[in-house]
Symmetry: C2
Subunit: 463 residues, 2 copies
């Protein structure tokens, strides 16, 4: 594929919106969003009624538009989409997003309409996203074909490829509140033309993008998707969430974006072979994405765990076993260092449970300098009431837990993840203490899964 | 077991704290906590140095205490615990909590000390919690043998039995922020005497308690624990989180609270047979607890799902299949009702994905009145930017989504769970809209698991 065609979807010089309206809805909201973000000047609005929308002249048809159009966004009812596409083709437009629903997802009639669309696009050399989607987002130039919130527009390093438009949109709303910032988004809908493989190929070369999230329900061409996943995973981690895993889910996705989901186990094996990181649900996706965007690949499989709660240590050990990771065996020197600082009741093992001994700083320093561990999980869960007493006495976080930022810099090539649990004021303090270079998650299981993903990525990227 | 002995742990008339101190630590914090909560008047503080702590006279030894003691809390170093226990026994104390660590969890020597303790308690007729624990909490009378935050003391209906003291304490810190309120807590530590079975038997009769959470690492007597779980589950749902599931985890729990974890699969089958709800992690435990404390048992296995996102609908369907639940087949009347209100592109199935059609109120009313569904999952995920426009136009939540509180009252015998995802301001509004009678969770998987638990409880409680 010529790269320039996909580039038009994210970096258009001129855009047309077919189906602009003067009453609330996408046709009203999108040009308003463009106005706010400096794109209305580069836009042509189209509606048979003409007039003005947000102070901008409205063309009665595509053929009335005077200039060239890099990208067209189509919002008209499904029955007239074909006609609009014909107009766009004649006008020389080669990149089109069809957001309109009412195609294969609604039944036989819609399926026929969709097939006509696909054929027409092929004939006219048009590359198409959709139908039944919300198109694209590029946070770098603040271009989007959906209305999203300002905070979702803050540039980041996470690219998203989502089959479903609503789901992509929900992710955009949700991710900033969990500390994730986005580079680009493509929502694909019914995928009559462009699909996951096309955008994987585009995002792997995109300088803003470090990690790619894929939400898929089914692949049109499984082999093509797996090939693209394999190529991409060598350079950037790809996290994939695929629904339609069961007969019920397949039934549900069939009507929703009109693609038959493939057999789940085959996908599972293929994703793994391709080096992609498959997650079971949204929560896992978010936490692993947060770790992957901030941590280096894991150079080996041996995890070191420092905890103030034996129970959470045991849960971490269980998770490590289930994920096929190893627990590091501490160096004799590490054990000596810790024993010299710990009260007698501390049993120096891995997970290292120091309970309320107060030796977190020394223990953290000791395990971080142990070459037998390839990555670390810190579990500084401490009941808040005694902590509050320490704060009242003027104790600082660095005295309580150690200077994590400084300690962390000395092992820049190893991932460090902290599990935050407990009272909100305490976890907020901990989040600050972790800073930008230590990733935070909310459970031992997520910490281990993220390290396992970093390990797989470490192996993959060396191939 | 005589009920009165366990009652002394939660409703003592007089208490002794052996190991009170005038410098920060448990020995200082606990009497301070008692002072705040009106318990210091009923307390005797003991420390060989005598003097005063928080204005209260300190006795030099247990034998100096003038009155009777319902409950003694022991905080002294492990080496002198035996001596203290001997004093307490001679004084006639029959309920003792030993919080001190330094027993079987530290190795052979500690193990011997612990065995001596167990023997002594048996001889003297003392019932013991611990050692290596933080004892008990009763929110109703604001009695606790640990310092906890005020918000954790708000009376609720969730009882907790936790092997680990720190973990119990962390739960106490964390639960109020996720909307859970507690009735009573028992942390068990090394369990030389009282164990999970004893507290299950006590909490099943406790009027404040509706749901019981158990965090276990291993059982001293598996058969006894399973018997108690079975008896309890008939009357109240029991959620159990057990770590030490794997060889790594077992190794970790061995040093931590000194009990060998049993084979995980055997436990899994036994828990299931006993009607207990086993959860895989803390997050799942919290979300299921929240649903169980507010929703009725599920009268059948057929779930009805209403969603604005086909993707989240598909994830719900996948989860339902994996949990062995069924998706309801809508009544023909329900389908007609929805079709009459929905645009043509809405495919009336279950999960019912209404996309951005805006028919949530009508669809919710239609499915709630369908007798073919035994419980409901609502997934009102909507991108915030268009929503904000509606709010600006003066639209209310009831107009947007329907009057959930009123609709819900008509099906009081069926559980209703809402999945909240997206922008924080929107999920906060949704939480308000759900009110007290609709439970909220953060993922489709949690919603389904909770309904599955309510279903199992529905079956169990009829036995």
């Amino acid at each position: 594929m010529e790269e320039s065609i996909l580039r038009n979807f994210f970096l258009p010089q001129s855009i047309a919106l077919v189906g602009a309206t003067s009453t609330p809805g996408f046709g009203y909201g999108i040009p308003l969003f463009w106005k706010k973000n400096g794109w209305l000047d580069k836009a042509y609005l189209v509606n048979p009624r003409g007039g003005k929308i947000h102070g901008k002249e409205v063309y009665r048809s595509v053929s009335d538009i005077p200039g060239t159009i890099d990208l067209a966004v189509v919002l008209v009812p499904s029955a007239v989409v074909r006609e609009v596409l014909l107009d766009l083709g004649r006008k020389g437009v080669r990149s089109v997003i069809i957001e309109s629903a009412g195609f294969a997802e609604t039944g036989e009639e819609g399926k026929e309409r969709q097939e006509e669309l696909a054929e027409l696009a092929r004939k006219m050399g048009i590359r198409l996203i959709g139908p039944n989607c919300v198109g694209v987002v590029n946070t770098q130039n603040r271009f989007a074909t959906i209305e999203i919130m300002d905070q979702s527009m803050e540039p980041g390093s996470l690219a998203i490829i989502a089959q479903s438009g609503v789901f992509g949109n929900i992710l955009l709303d949700h991710l900033p509140s969990v500390g994730l910032k986005i580079s680009k988004v493509a929502t694909l809908g019914n995928k009559v033309d462009l699909d996951e493989a096309d955008f994987l190929e585009y995002f792997v070369e995109d300088h803003q993008t470090k990690v790619i999230l894929v939400y898929a329900e089914g692949a049109r061409d499984g082999r093509r998707m797996i090939t693209a996943l394999r190529r991409t995973s060598r350079k950037k981690p790809v996290i994939i969430l695929k629904s339609g895993r069961t007969p019920y889910g397949r039934e549900a996705t069939r009507s929703h974006t009109a693609s038959l989901s493939g057999e789940d186990r085959i996908y599972d094996a293929a994703f793994r072979q391709a080096g992609a990181i498959r997650v079971a649900n949204l929560q896992e996706m978010i936490e692993i994405a947060r770790v992957l965007t901030t941590q280096p690949p894991m150079p080996g499989e041996r995890i070191g765990v420092l905890t103030t709660s034996g129970s959470l240590g045991a849960m971490t050990a269980d998770a490590a076993y289930l994920e096929g990771m190893k627990l590091a065996s501490w160096n004799p020197g590490t054990i000596r260092k810790i024993r010299s600082r710990a009260p007698g009741w501390v049993n120096v093992k891995n997970p290292l449970d120091i309970g309320p001994s107060g030796i977190f700083p020394a223990a953290c320093e000791a395990i971080f300098s142990d070459p037998h561990a390839d990555g670390f999980i810190l579990i500084p869960v401490i009941p808040y009431t005694p902590i509050e007493n320490y704060f009242r006495m003027g104790l600082q976080m660095k005295e309580l837990l150690g200077d994590w930022a400084a300690l962390r810099e000395k092992i820049a090539g190893k991932p460090v993840v902290a599990v935050l649990l407990g009272y909100g004021r305490w976890t907020e303090k901990l989040k600050d203490h972790c800073g930008q270079r230590i990733a935070t998650v909310s459970s031992p299981e997520a910490a281990v899964k993220a390290l396992s993903a970093l390990r797989r990525y470490g192996l993959q990227s060396r191939r």
